[in-house]
Symmetry: none
DNA sequence: CGCGCCCTGCAACAGCGCGTTACAAACCCC
DNA sequence: GGGGTTTGTAACGCGCTGTTGCAGGGCGCG
């Protein structure tokens, strides 16, 4: 890690802010602090933050809500601070999209360790930031143009895809040869969780097959894995 | 059918093994235990483990070393248990490639929470993982294509396998010339434990034989081992 | 060698996961 | 706000899969 990481501490307790700021500063981090959501967003605007340490309990909007808001428009590592208690695991198990969490009271050294671990784990290039990743994905002669969100068949004609079909196909093509559950697909392509008897992915897969399978009755590109999900079988070249 | 995660606990303290095994079992996990490295590797061979909880301090080879060995040939989520101490962060900061760690003593609920979090995070194919690993298994002229989940007979025609038949055949082909119990097969192919009078493997073997045995009346590929299980006899080449 | 127990193979059946279609709700672009 | 398009939901039918029961056969034991 050459450039020293810039950490943003979000906590309403002035003492904690001071303590962590000092401790992390002494260990090679640049540190900013914020006492609530608005202040946090102002800092995010102004600085290039590498990681946020976010308290769960905050005046006004709570940490969980802020966490989702941040994630909505950028992929930024977040470590949550939670009050120790019975609900800890429930919170985690639920949905907080944080990269890690830590129960108070904690040892600052442990926080530092987790910060390093999360940073080392590294930004999985999350969609938006991929200035020169693949612009086109090719499979079985098909070409999926990420810039234009368009699809061309092996013989060169453009196939019209709806927004949802494109998103779903992209989710598949970026993860070829892996079984993807309906939950994962729903998350990847729609950004939402499943409702109790959610069949929307099934239907959307069916519609997509109609457009890209040689024989939709006998799918070879997107195969069904019973009680598992679906798998995108072709090799994908990133151009 | 929701596939329940299979957790392997590696710790030399019998009491911890018992405690965790019981606790995780009560919370919807299937659990295996091992007291040291050799035992761990034996279990990894025999079962389809989803996540390892690995103690740092072990007799013989220590956890860190084991962790690296595991990572050398497969991507498998690992949570390390460390003795609380000043070195915690140093260890983390250093190189242990674990997905998470937990300092002893800890609350089992927290371990469960972290297990769920790591599993949910899902094997994000950690960069280096993809290229390796066999793409095709060949035996007796048959070809099992792992990417496409398809099977081709010696004369080249594709044989339709149901999802369950494929999973079962894969479990066999990855462990040729070893007697596999019904319990093991159920774990490997279905990710579940046996019910009291479970005969589903027998039936599925029968269905599979119908498709791949030259003479299903006289099986040569998948042989029955009376009161033992089944054994997959051909040599398997990994291409 | 014959009897009986237990293990296994397999047909028949039932439950349910999934593909598909039809339709309604939501969205979108003037 | 209205037409067309897209997306989610409900419903139906098919085929996969676990269960059950029975028949056949191995193996121990007398």
């Amino acid at each position: 890690m050459e450039r020293s990481p810039h950490i943003l501490i979000v906590d309403d307790d002035r003492e904690i802010r001071a303590l962590l700021s000092q401790f992390l500063g002494r260990h090679g981090c640049r540190v900013s602090v914020a006492k609530d959501g608005p202040e946090m967003f102002r800092t995010l605007e102004a600085a290039r933050i590498d990681l946020i340490v976010l308290d769960l309990m905050l005046p006004g909007e709570d940490g969980l809500s802020l966490c989702r808001k941040i994630r909505a428009d950028q992929r930024l590592p977040i470590i949550m601070l939670t009050a120790m208690g019975e609900e800890t695991d429930r919170i985690i198990g639920l949905e907080m999209g944080a990269d890690d969490y830590l129960a108070k009271p904690f040892n600052p050294r442990e926080l530092l360790a987790r910060i390093k671990a999360v940073l080392r784990r590294g930004h999985q290039p999350a969609e938006a930031e991929r200035p020169e990743g693949a612009r086109v994905l090719e499979f079985d002669g098909w070409r999926l143009d990420l810039a234009r969100r368009s699809l061309h068949s092996p013989d060169g004609v453009q196939v019209q895809l709806s927004a949802g079909e494109y998103d779903l196909l992209l989710a598949f093509a970026e993860r070829p040869q892996r079984v993807l559950t309906r939950d994962q697909l729903l998350d990847l392509a729609r950004g939402r969780a499943a409702t109790p008897f959610d069949r929307s992915i099934d239907v959307q897969v069916s519609r997509l097959r109609r457009k890209i399978e040689p024989d939709p009755k006998e799918p070879t590109v997107i195969k069904t894995v019973r009680s598992g999900g679906y798998i995108f079988t072709p090799d994908v070249a990133r151009l």
